[in-house]
Amino acid sequence: MNAENPKKISKLGLYGAIWRINNFASNYNFERLMALGMCEVMVPVFRSLGITGDKLREGLQRHLVFYNTHPYFCAMIMGIMAAMEESKANDDSLPGETINDFKVAMMGPFAGMGDSLFWGTVHPIILTISAYMAVKYNILGFFLCFLIGVIAILGTYYPFLWGYKYGTNIVEQIRTSQLLAQLTTGAKVVAMTVVGVMIGLLIHISTPVVLFQTTEKGSGVAIQGILDGIMPGLLSLGVLFLVYWLLRRKISPLVVMLILMVLTVALKTLGWIG
């Protein structure tokens, strides 16, 4: 241990970790999920700190254990891990288990935050708008899709550097600041509103059925007219809630898709919808 000249991860070492983060989900598997990827990210960290021999073997094995979290927020945990390994390299009294325990303790909360912020809201909003433009033959929809990539790049690059810079403090900051909670709540509101708009805009279903039709023109009662009198788009809403109800009963999405296909083909052939 050298108090005057502490070991520090070089700038290039950090870049080495950053490109490895972008490869870390490659070995995603059923046994230890992202373990090998986590281990790989630590490779440039150990190299840069000049760790060799038994300590290197120990360090690599320490990071080859079960690990699974959100692919963007994981970068922040990895940054914190890099900072912790750095302090361990300078002061060996920090036990390896502490590093591991901290990592395991962070997995769940970070996965939850990442899933609800990115998978649950930001991604669906981008995907919905771009897909809507695409089905209207607007080429902007195609370019809008690349926003996903921009988020992936920024969402791993900065969190990693923040995690490294602020170390374990950042977790406490996130817990107390509530900024993330506000962001997630806000994003959920936007996502729910957009889903509502999209159901109204995209799902086209109507019925041509006319009851009590006689030979006289304009006679009879058109069902669609009655439904529109209650609220326009009532059938679209009905389809959505049918799907939602089926999915909530844990029916596989692919089965629901087949049910929708059979239903629409049958009803269309019978002439009940059109």
Partner: protein
């Protein structure tokens, strides 16, 4: 046909060999990090992530190669809407629309089938993709054990190479079925689709207009709660009565979100505390 199949595979995935895997391989073999190559990898990751989550991208690129971008836009958009709420949560493997988007687009362009008919093929294709992904993830277990042995030897380069090998494997998992599917599968699909009677074709065309409900249903399953349902209905009413479009929907959503987050009591308490501490 095989030439076209190769071109589609190239623009939808094979390019990653040069822009994604090669820079990583160079850095791993030389054991030297490079700022420039890191950024190449980052940008390649961004492009590859976009194409994996937003299937409009592979569909349009397929359309570009086969000479019909409009079909790519429509088919890709429809499939993207169907899968909007599908994502990996925990260790589950969801059905993957990536290959389905490419093959459906190719089938519509090459066989003059209707989009509705091609979208009927999405289910079987995405199940095949899910099956392949599952198989690959099981195979990955062996590589992790291999990694264990490397870690025991302190072989850092080996761990790097193992991961890069794995990444290359994922890429081929997408591109080989693309190549084979377009090269050999489109002819088979054309024969299958040619026997579809008109009533079925009409019905399936109708189905593609209803299927977005599935994507949104899955999304609601994840984010909907009693706190957030009112916003859904606000959006719905704005669409059916005011006929607002998608982008205005986002603006409306952001406006409501800003008001809601400001007024929500839990967040307000924090704001008051902060002001006091200032």
């Amino acid at each position: 046909m095989w030439m076209k199949a190769f071109l589609v595979a190239l623009v939808t995935g094979l390019w990653q060999l040069v822009l994604y895997q090669l820079p990583m391989l160079i850095m791993a073999l030389t054991k030297k990090e490079s700022k420039f190559l890191t950024w190449v990898v980052l940008i390649a990751r961004g492009l590859s992530d976009s194409a994996n989550y937003a299937v409009v991208i592979p569909a349009v690129l397929t359309g570009l190669v086969l000479g019909d971008i409009r079909t790519g836009l429509f088919v890709g958009g429809t499939i993207q809407l169907m899968f909007i709420g599908v994502f990996i949560v925990g260790a589950s493997v969801p059905p993957n629309p990536y290959l389905a988007a490419i093959l459906s687009t190719a089938i519509v362009i090459l066989t003059k089938a209707s989009p509705g008919e091609a979208i009927a093929l999405v289910v079987p294709i995405s199940v095949v993709t899910q099956f392949l992904t599952n198989g690959f993830m099981s195979l990955n277990v062996f590589l992790t054990h291999w990694g264990d042995r490397m870690a025991a030897k302190g072989d850092t380069q080996g761990i790097d190479l193992l991961n890069i090998l794995d990444g290359t494997g994922w890429m081929f998992l997408n591109t080989i079925p693309t190549f084979l599917g377009i090269g050999a599968g489109v002819g088979v699909a054309a024969k299958l689709l040619s026997v579809i009677p008109e009533w079925l074709s009409n019905g399936l065309g109708y189905t593609s207009g209803v299927l977005p409900a599935l994507g949104f249903g899955m999304l609601l399953l994840m984010i909907a709660s009693s706190e957030f349902w009112p916003f859904f209905f606000l959006g719905f009413l704005a669409a059916v009565y005011l006929k607002i479009n998608a982008v205005s929907g986002v603006v409306l959503g952001i406006a409501i979100a800003l008001i809601y987050v400001r007024l929500k009591p839990e967040f307000n308490k924090m704001a008051v505390k902060k002001e006091e501490s200032l």
